[in-house]
C-alpha cells in the first residue's frame, strides 16, 4: 500500500511494494512522452537543502509529466539563510504542497520531516545511508535490463562507507534472493559496522573483497560509485588506491559478456568514457529510468491511478 505513505528508507518497503511500483513505472515509461494529467491541481514541493541535479530535476520532470505544479526551495536564498530551522521550513511547505521531496546533509532529517508533516515526505537523500528513490531506480534498471533480480551476482564498488546511493542499493538488494553480493572497496571505505550488522540480520549473501578483479568474472551487475579524495585522511593513500577502483576497458575483458555496469552518477574518473561505448554500459539508461520511476512514486503516494 502506497497511498499517503512517506518514502524515507528503502528498508521500509517490501518486495511486494517494490513490484507494485515497478508495474506502475513500466506503464509510466509508455506515457512519459505524451504526458498525463492525473496529478493536475496537485503541488509537489522540492526542498533540497543540499545540492542536487538529477534527483531534483527528475522529480520535477516527473511532476510536470503528470500535470502537477512544482514549487522549489533554494536554500541559498531561502529562510534557512535567515536562521529558520529545518522543521519550521518544512511545516510551511507542508501547508503549501501535497507532497514534499527533500534532501539534507543531516542524517535522519527526512524521518523528522515525516514526523512533523501531514503530507507525504519523500527522501531525496539524507546523510550517508538513505537515498531510497535512487535504490528503486537501480532495482528497476536491473529488472528491466536483466529480466529480474533473483539469482544474480551483484558487485558494488567504491565508497561503501559514506556513499548513500551504494548503501541504499545494497539494502534494496536484500529484498530479493541474490546468489551473491560482492562489496568491493578499499579497507578504509568498507561498509560501516552498523550497516553490516543490519545486512547480516537480513541474511544478505555478502562477500567483502578489496580486489575488483577477484570478483569481476562472476558478476552479472557491477554497480560503480565514486571514491572521493576527501574521504581519505591521508591523500597519499587515495593516490595509491584510486587506480585499483577504476573500471578500465582492459579489465572488462574478464567480465561476462552480458554484465551490466551501473552508476548513480555523477561520475568522475572511476568510469572512463571509453566504457560508454561497450555493451556493458547501462548507466545512462539507468539515469533515464529516473523519470518514470519517480512518476510512479509520486502517483502512488498521492493515490492517483494511471489510466
Amino acid at each position: 500500500m502506497w497511498a499517503g505513505r512517506d518514502v524515507i528508507s528503502i528498508l521500509d518497503f517490501t518486495r511486494e511494494d517494490l513490484e507494485e511500483l515497478f508495474r506502475v513505472a513500466r506503464r509510466m515509461e509508455e506515457i512519459e512522452r505524451r504526458g498525463s494529467d492525473i496529478l493536475r491541481g496537485r503541488i509537489v514541493a522540492t526542498a533540497f537543502f543540499e545540492p542536487s541535479t538529477r534527483t531534483r530535476l527528475s522529480f520535477e520532470a516527473a511532476a510536470h509529466r503528470l500535470g502537477a505544479s512544482v514549487i522549489s526551495l533554494h536554500p541559498t536564498v531561502a529562510s534557512l539563510a535567515k536562521g529558520e530551522s529545518l522543521a519550521d521550513t518544512l511545516r510551511m511547505l507542508d501547508g503549501y504542497a501535497d507532497v514534499i521531496v527533500m534532501r539534507s546533509r543531516l542524517e535522519g532529517a527526512a524521518k523528522m520531516a515525516a514526523e512533523i508533516c501531514v503530507n507525504p515526505v519523500i527522501n531525496g537523500g539524507d546523510g550517508t545511508q538513505h537515498h531510497p528513490t535512487q535504490a528503486m531506480i537501480d532495482l528497476y534498471t536491473i529488472k528491466r535490463l536483466k529480466g529480474g533480480v533473483d539469482g544474480l551476482v551483484v558487485g558494488v564498488l567504491g565508497d561503501l562507507k559514506y556513499g548513500r546511493a551504494a548503501t541504499s542499493f545494497i539494502f534494496g538488494l536484500t529484498r530479493y534472493r541474490l546468489e551473491r553480493i560482492y562489496l568491493i572497496s578499499p579497507p578504509e571505505l568498507r561498509v560501516r559496522e552498523d550497516v553490516m550488522m543490519e545486512l547480516d540480520r537480513l541474511g544478505a549473501p555478502i562477500h567483502e573483497v578489496t580486489d575488483l578483479e577477484e570478483a569481476l568474472p562472476e558478476l552479472d551487475v557491477l554497480y560503480v560509485t565514486r571514491i572521493q579524495k576527501e574521504r581519505f585522511p591521508d591523500p597519499a593513500e587515495y593516490e595509491r588506491v584510486k587506480g585499483s577502483y577504476r573500471v578500465k576497458l582492459s579489465l572488462l575483458r574478464k567480465a561476462k559478456k552480458d554484465m551490466i555496469i551501473m552508476h548513480p552518477l555523477p561520475r568522475v574518473d572511476e568510469l572512463p568514457y571509453e566504457v560508454d561505448r561497450t555493451p556493458h554500459a547501462a548507466y545512462f539508461k539507468q539515469a533515464s529510468f529516473g523519470v518514470p520511476v519517480r512518476m510512479a512514486i509520486l502517483s502512488l503516494v498521492l493515490g492517483a491511478v494511471v489510466e
Binding site: S104, R105, L106, E107, G108, A109, K111, E193, D194, E198
Partner: protein, 160 residues
C-alpha cells in the same frame, strides 16, 4: 550464613531503597547517576564485588530516604539492567521490582553522530534508540542508524 547475608545485615535502613544485583563494579556509577555524592547526610551503604548466585559477583547500593523517579529507573536500567529495586519501609522490603530496558529509549541518551538531526539544538526532535542487543547492550539511533555501545551509555550517564 553466607557472606552476602552478613553484608546485608550490617546496615539495615528504616525507609529507603536498596538497589541489588548491580553488575559488579558499577555501584559508583549508580551513585553518580542518582546524583549522590555522600555529602547529602543520608545513610548510604555500598557493597562491591560481593558473591552472588545469579551474577557471580554483584554490587549493592542502599540509600536511606531515597525514592527513585521514573526517569532514574529508566536510566538505571541502562547501566545496571540486571538490577532489582527493593523499596524499604520500617526495615522491611515493601516492594520488589525488577527493572528492564524498554525496546525504545527516548530522550535520555545522545547520538554520537554530530551530523545526526537529533544533535541539532534548534530542530524539535528528541533522540530515540532501539535496542539491538541486550548483553552487552547495543543501541541503534532511530534517526541516523549509528550504534551506541554499553560503554558509550555508561559514559554518557555517569560522565565517565
Amino acid at each position: 550464613m553466607s557472606s552476602e547475608e552478613k553484608v546485608l545485615k550490617v546496615s539495615k535502613i528504616e525507609h529507603g531503597t536498596v538497589i541489588d544485583h548491580i553488575p559488579a563494579g558499577r555501584a559508583l556509577y549508580v551513585l553518580r547517576l542518582l546524583g549522590l555524592t555522600g555529602k547529602e547526610g543520608v545513610i548510604i551503604s555500598l557493597a562491591m564485588n560481593i558473591p552472588s548466585r545469579k551474577l557471580g559477583k554483584k554490587d549493592v547500593v542502599k540509600v536511606e530516604g531515597l525514592e527513585l523517579s521514573e526517569d532514574q529507573v529508566n536510566k538505571l536500567a541502562l547501566i545496571a539492567p540486571s538490577a532489582t529495586i527493593n523499596i524499604i519501609k520500617d526495615y522491611e522490603v515493601s516492594t520488589k521490582m525488577k527493572i528492564s530496558i524498554p525496546e525504545v529509549i527516548s530522550g535520555i541518551l545522545k547520538c554520537k553522530n554530530p551530523n545526526c538531526i537529533t544533535r541539532k539544538e534548534r530542530e524539535p526532535v528528541i533522540s530515540s534508540f532501539r535496542v539491538v542487543k541486550r548483553k552487552p547492550l547495543l543501541l541503534r539511533c532511530e534517526y541516523c542508524g549509528r550504534f551506541l555501545t554499553e560503554e558509550d551509555v555508561v559514559e554518557q550517564l555517569t560522565g565517565g
